[in-house]
């Protein structure tokens, strides 16, 4: 038998420094009675692409602005590169920021914008010019140095903002929703470019975003935040596949929730009974808190596969199609399963004709018990 | 040494807290505006308080008797001459505001709905004469309306009249015409601003729901621009009540207004308390009139629905 070619998995295999770059310890930011950030602790590693993900008002931008020095914690501490940031104003921090509005100085041209921070360093000889050229090259703006900021497209403005920050050679680059103003196509292109750029320069990137796909596509690790609290910090895959609670699961995409009864709990696993899926053995989440005998399991819609004709699977559930929604390359099926209080949502590619399944058809779905994960409510 | 060492941590604490307070938004914002605020307090609020105080005092030649009295107000409100001047001033300012608003509305509408790319050019064209000297604009009306003036000589030259008319100048109509012209541009701006805020799709929605052009204008555009009409009316009404130059130059005996009487009390007649009482009375009455105008326009606005 010929040997299978080995497929590189860049995310999993990329060697990363374990050295901490940003240490956030018990940081709280309150405005009167309202806590924008509530006792958040987090370590961001050197050379990492880290995302703060959450809905608007979850505290992610507050946290980013406190790292930059535009806001101060009510209590708790922030250290960058091992140095406490307390009392250090924004202009003396080893961080630089790409603003949501880009904040390109409209009275300066591209070159002057990029050189803005270097002017203060009073560099010798042609060093300033050389660094500006290098930064313009990094963000693919070579040749546009003399353009006025007002003559640039949205994508170009974003590159100027990026170049202007990178030219300062910061320890950490902070990005506040940098892609939210771009249209979909440009946004996806910039995601790839930003990721490539980060790997080329090796600087720690901290990205704030409310777009889960953006966070999943770009990050080494993600912190998901809700209501001023950090809910989960993990790799994109871990967060998507093993969300710690329903809120995280919901925010990262569709999830079918199944009620379960705990039969047995031991060190690393749980054995539960469900009405639709029967008895399941599943990994016990790290932070699992037992709430009586009840538990919640979740399975992503794409982890349920339609079984055609007489095909069988080791694990399957049977039900009836009640709704069908066509999305081009995929079809969403809503399948009623006897015993389950809510019908299951199933995502199936259209390669085999899922878009032609009539509503009312009896159907069988295959699943992998490992895809059913236990989580907190 | 020990004392200092023990003393320093709490000292640092208070300094940190003080810095935090100084950095806080309200403190910084208030500190920044305070010079301008103080200026307005000292040169506007304080003077008006002083005027109000004077209106309750009495003047004997050059000394002021600070015993509280309502005598000045009795004179201001009952003496026929002041009563007439007050009424005339109110009548003139009300007429002028009505004229300016009615004349200005179509222009504001035109610029807002048909101005296209040239909106700001139109606004500039209309406001430019307003920036020239008020005195000169009043003077030019004197030139136009005078016995030997432009209008009379022009009409005679065209053979429309045989001899100069004396009815043009030195009466309250001349005052009204001059003031209407002087404040025309001022009334356009607030109406324009409120018309700009009217969502164009609302007009289309009204048309879609079966309203004709006139009905959709009366039921949608006009009521929605009421705030602009109100501010335009007030912005003209309040200052014109106290106008001094226009009645003096083109008003003659028939067009004298309350400001001329107030000035006389501070000048030749040298009765500051009476002048103060006349000022306060004027301001109070014009405030009442302004309030009534707001109420009437709001009521009309509700009725239009």
């Amino acid at each position: 038998m010929p040997e299978q070619p080995r497929i590189e998995r860049p995310h999993a295999d990329r060697i990363q420094s374990e050295r901490p770059m940003i240490e956030i310890r018990n940081v709280t930011r309150s405005y009167g009675a309202f806590k924008a950030l509530d006792d958040a602790s987090l370590t961001i590693r050197e050379g990492e692409f880290f995302s703060l993900l959450g809905p608007s008002g979850c505290g992610k931008t507050t946290l980013l602005r406190m790292i930059a020095g535009f806001d101060n914690p009510t209590s708790g501490s922030i250290a960058v590169g091992g140095q406490s940031m307390e009392g250090i104003p924004a202009n003396r921090r080893p961080t630089n920021m790409v603003f949501q509005s880009y904040a390109i100085f409209p009275h300066l041209n591209v070159e002057q914008n990029v050189a803005y921070g270097l002017k203060r360093l009073k560099l010798q000889g042609g060093e300033e010019k050389r660094r500006v050229e290098e930064a313009l090259g990094q963000v693919s703006l070579t040749g546009l140095g003399k353009r006025l900021a007002t003559e640039l497209s949205g994508g170009q403005r974003q590159r100027v903002a990026l170049g202007r920050a990178l030219v300062m050679r910061p320890k950490v680059l902070l990005l506040d929703e940098p892609l939210s103003a771009l249209d979909k196509k440009l946004r996806e292109q910039m995601q790839v470019e930003l990721r490539r750029l980060q790997q080329a320069v090796g600087i720690t990137f901290v990205l704030v975003t409310h777009d889960q796909y953006e966070a999943l596509a770009m990050s080494d690790r993600i912190a998901v935040m809700f209501g001023g609290k950090i809910a989960q910090v993990a790799s994109p895959k871990e967060i998507y596949q093993r969300p710690v609670n329903r809120q995280v699961a919901d925010f990262l995409g569709g999830m079918n929730f199944v009620k379960a009864e705990i039969v047995e709990e031991n060190g690393a696993s749980l054995i539960v009974d469900t009405l639709g899926f029967g008895r399941i053995k599943t990994d016990k989440p790290k932070a699992f808190v037992r709430n009586g005998g009840a538990a919640t399991l979740g399975i992503r819609p794409e982890r349920l596969r339609v079984l055609w004709d007489n095909a069988t699977a080791k694990f399957e559930v049977a039900g009836k199609v009640v709704e069908r929604h066509y999305f081009g390359e995929i079809t969403h099926l809503i399948v009623e399963i006897p015993g389950l209080e809510k019908p299951l949502s199933v995502t199936e590619t259209n390669d085999f004709g899922a878009d032609d399944i009539p509503v009312g058809t009896p159907i069988r779905l295959a699943y992998d018990p490992e895809a059913l994960v236990a989580m907190a409510d | 040494m020990t004392v200092a060492a023990e003393g320093s941590p709490p000292l640092r604490m208070t300094r940190a807290r003080r810095n935090a307070l100084l950095r806080s938004e309200p403190v910084q914002g208030f500190a920044l505006i305070s010079p301008t605020f103080l200026y307005a307090l000292i040169l506007l609020v304080l003077p008006i308080m002083v005027v109000i105080a004077h209106s309750f005092w009495t003047q004997h030649y050059l000394t002021i008797d600070r015993t509280f009295t309502l005598e000045n107000y009795r004179v201001a409100l009952t003496e026929p001459i002041y009563r007439d001047l007050l009424w005339r001033s109110l009548y003139i300012s009300l007429t002028v505001s009505l004229f300016t608003v009615v004349l200005a509305y179509p222009i504001a509408y035109f610029i807002s709905f048909h101005g296209g790319r040239h909106k700001s050019l139109w606004l500039f064209l209309i406001t430019i004469p307003f920036w020239t000297s008020y005195l000169l604009r009043v003077m030019s009306w004197k030139v136009i309306l005078g016995y030997n003036g432009v209008l009379n000589s022009g009409l005679m030259g065209l053979g429309i009249i045989d001899e100069p008319s004396t009815a043009l100048l030195y009466n309250s109509s001349a005052v009204i015409i001059t003031l209407t012209h002087a404040w025309a541009a001022f009334a356009i701006l607030p109406i324009f601003v409120s018309l700009e805020k009217v969502d164009r799709t609302l007009v289309e929605a009204a048309t879609d729901l079966g309203d004709g052009p006139l009905r959709s204008f009366l039921r949608v555009t006009l009521p929605l621009s009421a705030p602009g009409i109100i501010s335009a009316a007030l912005i003209v009404m309040i200052p014109t009540v106290g106008d001094y130059v226009t009645p003096k130059l083109v008003g003659g005996k028939d067009g004298v207004m309350i400001a001329n009487a107030i000035q006389a009390q501070f000048g030749k007649a040298a009765n500051w308390p009476l002048g103060a009482a006349l000022s306060v009375t004027t301001m109070l009455i014009v405030s009442l009139m302004a309030g009534a105008t707001v109420l009437i326009i709001r009521t009309l606005q509700r009725m239009a629905r």
Binding site: N91, Y116 | E25, V51, F110, Y134, R137, F217
Partner: protein, 273 residues
């Protein structure tokens, strides 16, 4: 498709044209009769002359008044613009209780009867024992100029993206450096515009100067004095024409600058620019 609107554009255009004529015509008679040979302004015109203009520099009282107006105008423009900058910056940048009330008070001279403002200040100044002079006129002019200065500056400061200043700090610039390198260049046109507007208002202002000046006359006061003499009218018309032209030019420049400032700041705020 555009909905049909009440009052078709054609009629409105005609009305707008008439309105512009109504606004400009009276003002245009001043220059016309200032170059007419007749001593009284009436039709038909008698002939072209620049005599009335040539007489102007030969009148010492007029030159004094012009000099006084210049001093008062420049002082009032600078003072009110400085106070206007502080207030406009505070109003556009910070949120605090009482902000609207303070703003209302500062803008109040715009809608108060000028005579009442003037006599109130006169009373206080006399009570404080200040002798009336050009200085007291400047004090009064600053009060009435601040609202205009505020309006011009606010339109320049508004939409000034706060993150521009944050970006500057983020790139290592100090608070003063940020003001010098970012804030000032951005709002400079608005500031110059405010100076010009305030100077023009002070140059043309009559009532407050009339009440608050001592023996020195400004140009409008000089004109007021001359109006009593019918024979001086052509000279007054010539002077008035010069003032009109000056106001017109200053305001045009101010407006161009104000727009440039507004365009600069507003371009920045737009995410979809």
């Amino acid at each position: 498709m555009r909905a049909r609107r009440f009052l078709p554009g054609g009629w409105l255009s005609a009305y707008a044209f008439l309105y512009i004529v109504f606004l400009y015509l009276p003002v245009i008679f001043l220059p016309i009769f200032s170059i007419n040979t007749a001593a009284t302004p009436k039709f038909p015109l008698t002939g072209f002359t620049l005599q009335w203009y040539e007489d102007l520099p030969r009148t010492p009282a007029l030159l004094d008044a012009a000099w006084n107006s210049l001093i008062v105008g420049v002082s009032a423009a600078i003072l009110s613009t400085v106070l206007g900058i502080l207030a406009a910056r505070s109003i556009t940048r910070y949120r605090y209780p009482g902000r609207r009330a303070i703003n209302g008070l500062i803008m109040a001279p715009l809608v108060l009867p000028e005579v009442i403002v003037a006599i109130s200040m006169l009373l206080v100044m006399l009570q404080l024992g200040l002798s009336l002079s050009l200085f007291t006129v400047v004090l009064g002019h600053v009060l009435v100029c601040i609202p205009y200065s505020m309006t011009v500056l606010t339109s320049g400061f508004e939409g000034f993206d706060r993150s521009l200043e944050e970006a500057s700090a983020d790139l290592g610039e100090s608070a003063f450096g940020t003001f010098r390198r970012v804030t000032l260049p951005m709002v400079a046109p608005a500031i110059i515009s405010s100076l010009l507007v305030c100077f023009t208002i002070s140059l043309d202002e009559f009532i407050i100067a009339f009440f608050l000046t001592g023996t020195e006359a400004t140009l409008p006061i000089y004109i007021w004095g001359q109006l009593r003499f019918a024979s001086k009218l052509p000279g007054v018309l010539a002077l008035g024409t010069l003032l009109l032209v000056a106001s017109f030019l200053l305001m045009t420049i101010a407006e161009i600058l104000r727009r440039r400032a507004a365009r600069r700041t507003q371009n920045e705020g737009g995410l979809y620019a």
